[in-house]
Subunit: 479 residues, 2 copies
């Protein structure tokens, strides 16, 4: 079937909510590296997939990412290739979906009064791009008529982990008035919903005109409306960051579902036929991933004997599993999680326990991705630290200096261009160099193949904050 | 109760069989590092415990370790502190217990015709030293009268994993004639044995005069007897190694149980009251280790929620376990094993599978202990390798050279004395040095605190066999 080639609608904006924290996919996700940034399924991260899905429907310049300060760098780095310039609006702190959507609505309405907003979570699974776009096009006429359209998923099973939408009067083949938003039901109620037939899963995907959402916010969340109105002049200007900082502290943490969707009379629902999951836990991968003949999902360096219906996520280290049934095993460089599928919800409790026991290091990512490549910490001692550093071709670190540590660099593959004080020289594969404390230096990959180096830091203080940046091609400041 | 201080009997020799291979405790035990070398329980390795148990009963100079070529270095290093000089006899290859015991008997008889041999596996668990020594002293008079005494363990449960000894006529309070050695029974038979009351577990600990064992070998294993007789002149001389090499190839692989114990008419059994386990698998730790109130054995960096009756062996990496029941988890630097307790026997199958799949690297130990300290491989790449090297105070590596790799040394703590070509210099903490290929070098810890260095090897070939040793304080040759 030949696809129609349409130009993206000029007034259609995608608003991607990418501020979510969460450690439900711990130890793969970490507090500073939540699941939208993970390649859980396939070659792209969930955030990248969300953007990729919109290609041809929403132009990159019409794509707005709502994120938080601590995630901005990661968003930039993950989307640069897909979007070119990445339009981010940075919330000073996450306050749930209502402020994030309100902020986007104010910004887009200010830009273009007929702006249509497609709001998308950045960390959900949607497998069929064509079906997704078909649903979008079914929804557009309803949004253009002033409705707030939600995308409802036909329930595949009596799931107790999702909210449901109860539909009312049919407006078209696939679109209904919404009569109620319903909280996560118990098992019995969920079964009854399925039998009854008019209930759908709430996907968290919405389409509406910015204008209409602003009207509803004014009506149902007048405090928040007024707060944003007070800074509307600064939006889309250089003063935006500062203005947001001044109001965010006082905003209430609230979801759009509770704040608007459950109250507004303008809500309609379009049935979404695409396979979908909110990926709420490790066991949710069961619904979306291909399995072997024994029902296992085995990723990475896994050797299994007699395993059934288990999910094993490994990487380079070996995970050897014998006779596992309905288990989840997630192995990362510094931590391994092992639990039966029906206990994965307790990962939250586990993360709390790690905090209580002073093991916060396991809430930070072991592999740190950076605009120029990535590094991983191989070993940490009281006065030394060994890192494996990967620089993309042509990538260049900032000119920098450390007060307390020396750095030894051994080039493992590729060629490094090193500035050390006033000298500039090349270090080739299998050669090494040494940067004493308080000497300005810069590392660069001048080549067209990746540069891999091993860095040994030694000194009395090894914190990432012992860094003075003199310039930075990635626009980061020393803080 | 005051202990009697006896001088060790001059004619009593301990013969420790420390040649066993095996990977039943994989991934903690490896092919080149079997379980006798592991600290499974407490501060000492099983081999060290076996020696420690004999203190005061057998003098160090009367202790003979029967081992194989590839394990000699580890035996030396593990026992040096306990024994001073370590008397090893090195079998050219392991041929099961009959040749090992025959060899020891020939050697000791040649030394002293009234030699009494206490034969001990090096990888079993015995918890009560006093009870062990009491049993030994009950057994000695029977051995001195020409009996071959086995130590029998009163069965604690109808175990199907052990061989049994059926006792006959009572000779003293704790010693019986043996009427039969019985193979591992099925569950029903094992229950019947317990009910019947005259069956004991075969501990593999024996006491006899070398002379009597040689008589029995002559009678029941005449081929092996004649083979050893042909080289008896070389035993206890410098020619021993060579002589053994000439005969071992032709020796049959046979157990002492099958070769002698099941046939000899001289066998008696002394009841051993000490807690004992052959530590046949990970689940056997259940019998010998202290558990928490939920029945768990949790070692190392483990955070558990709602776990019951599980064994979790971790080290530095974090193992996070939720809701495990009757599971075994063993985490090491490069591999993690996860299996229910009732499947641990399949570890053998798993090890075979690793070989089939070309993952032999997981059968070698990740931490390599050496006479001078130890090293661990932090990372292995196609053309580089990073090691963490620990040198004991005053330890010194051999003067050596590599043809294909360069080595970068960064001192993390302590001070290194480095010989590089004709130069000798010191490298202090946080300093580094570089050894190009084909340059003679030596690393030494001249200090009184440990020396830790990070070594990055780089080059086209990184095999451990690219080493030319010019001298070696630990007596190792370049091979």
């Amino acid at each position: 079937m030949a696809k129609k080639h349409r130009a993206p609608k000029k007034n259609l904006y995608a608003v991607i909510i990418a501020g979510g924290k969460g450690t439900r996919f711990w130890p793969l996700s970490r507090e500073a590296f939540p699941k939208q940034f993970l390649k859980l399924i396939g070659e792209r991260t969930l955030l990248q997939e969300t953007i990729q899905r919109l290609k041809g429907e929403v132009s990159p310049s019409n794509t707005l990412i709502v994120t938080t300060k601590d995630q901005k760098d990661i968003v930039d780095w993950q989307l640069k290739e897909l979007l070119g310039d990445v339009n981010c609006v940075v919330e000073p702190e996450g306050k749930n979906t209502a402020p994030a959507i309100a902020l986007a609505a104010f910004k887009l309405f200010k830009k273009r009064q007929d702006a249509l907003m497609l709001v998308l979570p950045s960390d959900h699974f949607v497998s069929d791009r064509d079906l997704f776009n078909q649903t979008l096009h079914k929804a557009i006429p309803f949004a253009e008529k002033g409705n707030i359209v939600t995308f409802g998923i036909k329930p595949a099973r009596p799931e107790t982990g999702y909210g449901y939408i109860k539909t009312g009067r049919r407006l078209s083949k696939d679109t209904f008035k919404v009569s109620a938003f319903v909280e996560k039901p118990d098992a019995k109620t969920a079964k009854a919903y399925i039998k009854e037939g008019s209930y759908y899963w709430n996907s968290g995907i919405f389409l509406f005109r910015a204008k209409d959402m602003l009207d509803e916010i004014k009506k149902y969340m007048p405090d928040m409306y007024n707060t944003f109105t007070s800074i509307v002049k600064a939006l889309n200007t250089k003063k935006e960051d500062e203005a947001l900082k001044s109001i965010y502290r006082n905003l209430r943490d609230e979801s759009i579902d509770y704040g608007i969707m459950e109250k507004s009379k303008k809500i309609v629902m379009t049935v979404a036929d695409f396979p979908w999951s909110d990926l709420g836990s490790w066991s949710s991968l069961d619904e979306v991933m291909d399995k072997d003949e024994d029902g296992n999902v085995l990723i990475g360096n896994v050797v299994g004997i007699d395993c059934k219906d288990s999910i094993i996520f490994a990487n380079k280290r070996l995970v050897a599993a014998i006779g596992l049934k309905n288990m989840v095993v997630v192995d990362t460089a510094d931590a391994t999680l092992i639990t039966p599928k029906d206990k994965v919800q307790q990962v939250k409790q586990l993360v709390s326990k790690l905090k209580e026991e002073g093991k916060e290091e396991y809430l930070a990512p072991k592999i740190e991705e950076r605009p120029w490549g990535y590094f991983s910490v191989l070993e940490k001692g009281p006065s030394h630290q060994i890192k494996h550093i990967y620089l993309k071709p042509k990538a260049r670190l900032s000119l920098q200096m450390h007060n307390h540590r020396s750095e030894h660099w051994i080039v493992v593959s590729g060629t490094a261009k090193v500035q050390r004080g006033e000298e500039v020289f090349f270090v080739h594969t299998n050669e090494s160099t040494f940067i004493p404390p308080t000497v300005k230096h810069r590392l660069e990959n001048p080549g067209i193949i990746p540069l891999r180096i091993v860095e040994i830091q030694s000194g009395e203080y090894l914190g990432e904050d012992d860094i003075i940046r003199f310039d930075d091609v990635y626009g980061r400041r020393t803080e």
